[in-house]
């Protein structure tokens, strides 16, 4: 277990009698990046503060490098092996160079060693030319680069990133994502990256944990989390917009026919007739095509005829809501909509692979059939 940088065991944080964080077990290892996603108020920042020894948990123990923490003096030594980068860069009223050197000064590192390291990291983040500028005059992106340099210059064993990109505009953010990913691949650091933005979740690592109401609801690869959410809440949060329950009406071989609303779909697996099953379907997997020919039952592709009720463009794509016996959300490129001359009210075929259907719960009936309230994906 030598590579374990941080380990949380049965950690609980209570505030005003309310549990805001409840982590059974969580471990961070050297050279790996764990991304924690969750909605606002899920306890992400609390988790980061607890891991960063800025807040003591009400119950349980945080281990750093195998050592239990909680002793003030020892904690400072351990705290000096980590670095926190916050959502807002919080530059001191001093030059960029001095800001980046802040943590080194706290550690009593000065002289040529500080010059070498600060110069190196300013360079690696592409802000060497801003060294003498007052850091309060930097643009958002520049300041965030300085903030990252300020953390990385400490060559920490543990890097804690609290939504460091949240306040940046899109192109700045993308450029910084790339640079940071490259840097993190080269340094031997355990990284905890916290974000509420699911689009950003895979930028730094493929290891994800979903935090909701203070609990880790699901952990795994990004594919697992985004395509195989283990609960309706996680499914909703990761953008699996189509969540509906199906009533099995016929079983034939490895396939089953099921009724959803007034429509009939095909799904894989063996079921008891009369079962209710909760299904999820990512809108990106639903295609739209013009109506043509007959529609066949029990195939590898579901084809449902319906009418477009709404088209909501975002970026180069559009969210299309089709009423095909139940409301189905599809995300397609605007170009394909143009090619079809799709308009609200038009009759279309909504198609999706049977394999794309994800079974969230094998024995649950969902009462409503409206699309779930969805996080707005058009905004970063």
């Amino acid at each position: 277990m030598t590579s374990s940088v941080v380990e949380l065991r049965e950690v609980k944080v209570e505030r005003d009698g309310r549990t805001v964080l409840d982590i059974q077990h969580l471990q961070l290892e050297l050279g790996k990046t764990l991304t924690v996603i969750g909605p606002n108020g899920a306890g992400k920042s609390t988790l980061l503060r607890v891991v960063g020894l800025l807040e003591r948990p009400t119950h349980g123990t945080v281990f750093h490098h195998g050592e239990a923490t909680g002793d003030g003096k020892q904690d400072l030594i351990l705290r000096r092996r980590l670095a926190v980068v916050m959502q807002r860069p919080f530059m001191r009223n001093a030059s960029t160079w001095d800001n980046v050197a802040t943590g080194l000064k706290f550690r009593g590192i000065g002289g040529s060693e500080a010059k070498r390291r600060v110069g190196d990291w300013l360079d690696r983040l592409g802000i060497a030319h801003l060294a003498d500028r007052n850091a309060r005059e930097l643009s958002g992106g520049e300041a965030q680069r300085a903030s990252l340099a300020r953390g990385l210059v400490l060559e920490p064993d543990l890097l804690l990133l609290d939504e460091p990109f949240a306040a940046l505009d899109e192109p700045t953010r993308l450029a910084l994502h790339d640079d940071l990913r490259n840097i993190l691949q080269k340094v031997q650091t355990a990284t905890l990256f916290v974000t509420h933005n699911r689009i950003e979740a895979q930028t730094l690592s493929d290891e994800l944990a979903v935090l909701m109401d203070g609990n880790v609801r699901q952990a795994g690869s990004s594919y697992d989390v985004f395509y195989r959410p283990n609960s309706e809440e996680v499914a909703t949060f990761v953008g699996m917009e189509n969540i509906f329950s199906a009533h099995i009406i016929e079983q034939s071989g490895g396939l089953a026919a099921a009724r959803v609303g007034r429509a009939e779909i095909t799904l894989v697996g063996s079921w008891q007739q009369g079962d209710y099953v909760l299904l999820g379907l990512r809108p990106e997997t639903v295609q739209i095509e013009p109506v043509k020919g007959e529609h066949t039952r029990l195939g590898s592709t579901n084809r449902l005829q319906g009418r477009i009720t709404a088209i909501m463009p975002f970026g180069g794509q559009a969210r299309v809501i089709i009423n095909c016996g139940f409301p189905l959300v599809s995300i397609v490129t605007q170009q394909s909509l143009m090619a079809m001359r799709a308009t609200p009210g038009m009759s279309v075929l909504a198609t999706f692979q049977t394999a794309a259907l994800h079974i969230i719960d094998r024995s649950r009936q969902r009462v409503t059939l409206t699309p779930t309230s969805r996080p707005d994906t058009s905004k970063p």
Binding site: D98, G110, A114, V118, G119, L122, A128, D132
Partner: protein
């Protein structure tokens, strides 16, 4: 972008500027710490606290006497000009070493209680009743001070009292008592301030007041007040030097007090007092009393 070597040169001076507030703060802290350590106990053994009336200080007499005394003595005089009442109170608590005051009756109480070891007359002049030039109460023709006060109380004119327990105030109260009058009402006002301020108030309000002669002489240029009554034996203003009994208090510098008291009575100091004010006012402010007994003076 510049090459990294350039940056390193530029970086050097920016580090010096950082956290300047604290650099300065720490330097100050060290300096103040050192000063505090080295400067403790600044009060000297040779310091003598002289509690005195404002009139001797304001007239400038002490500015002449103290440097002369210090030039021949090992002691340093610290004159605290507080008014006679306060000076006597300081003596009672042992907060002064020697007093130069002008309230004989109150002084004698302290002599009798043993706080004062020795009381010696130094000099005297006369209090003056001053007032507006038209003199509605006809003070100028009064036969005595008590008659003057009676006359003032019977007219519609204001009287401004010091009201500060100073020597002058004590004298004024004694005069009212002698006249058998308890001053009160809206025509009797207390300024609560020093002689100079009280004279100015009297001048502005065309009122009567009782003043020591020295202060009146010093200020008369700026006042619309006329001296109406003085040289009356009941207006005698006697300054005495009082030495504290060192055995009664722990920290009183009785040796220094004795030294200064003896100096005031010496021919050297008496010569300075005798000529004080002549160059400025054309007449001396004080009349010498060294060696005189009070009964001789009052007679």
């Amino acid at each position: 972008m510049g090459n990294p070597a350039d940056n390193i040169i530029r970086f050097r001076d920016s580090t010096v500027r950082d956290f300047t507030f604290w650099r300065i703060f720490d330097i100050f802290a060290i300096v103040v710490g050192l000063v505090a350590i080295t400067a403790c106990g600044s009060a000297r053994e040779t310091d003598v606290i002289l509690a005195t009336t404002t009139s001797t200080n304001d007239s400038g007499l002490l500015d002449v006497l103290i440097p002369d005394f210090e030039s021949i003595s090992e002691f340093n005089i610290k004159p605290i000009a507080v008014g006679t009442g306060k000076a006597l109170a300081m003596a009672e608590r042992g907060e002064a070493d020697v007093l130069l005051v002008h309230a004989p009756t109150a002084e004698k109480v302290l002599v009798e209680s043993g706080v004062i070891k020795r009381r010696s007359l130094v000099m005297h002049n006369f209090f003056q009743v001053v007032g507006p030039e038209n003199d509605p109460a006809h003070v100028a023709i009064a036969v005595s001070a008590t008659n003057a006060l009676k006359a003032i109380s019977e007219t519609d004119t204001l009287f401004i009292s010091r009201g500060d327990d100073s020597g002058t105030h004590k004298m004024e109260l004694a005069l009212w008592q002698a006249a058998g009058i308890t001053p009160k009402g809206s025509r009797y006002q207390e300024s609560g301030q020093g002689m100079g301020a009280t004279l100015r108030i009297a001048s502005e309000k065309s009122a009567y007041t009782l003043t020591d002669y020295g202060t009146y002489l010093a200020l008369k240029e700026n006042l619309d007040l006329t001296p109406l009554l003085g040289e009356d034996r009941s207006l005698l203003n006697i300054y005495s030097v009082l030495e504290l009994d060192g055995d009664r208090f722990n920290n009183v510098n009785s040796a220094g007090g004795k030294d200064f008291a003896e100096y005031l009575l010496s021919p050297r100091a008496q010569r300075l007092i005798e000529t004080f004010g002549v160059d400025k006012y054309g007449e001396p402010l004080f009349i010498l009393d060294a060696g005189t007994s009070e009964s001789e003076l009052v007679r």
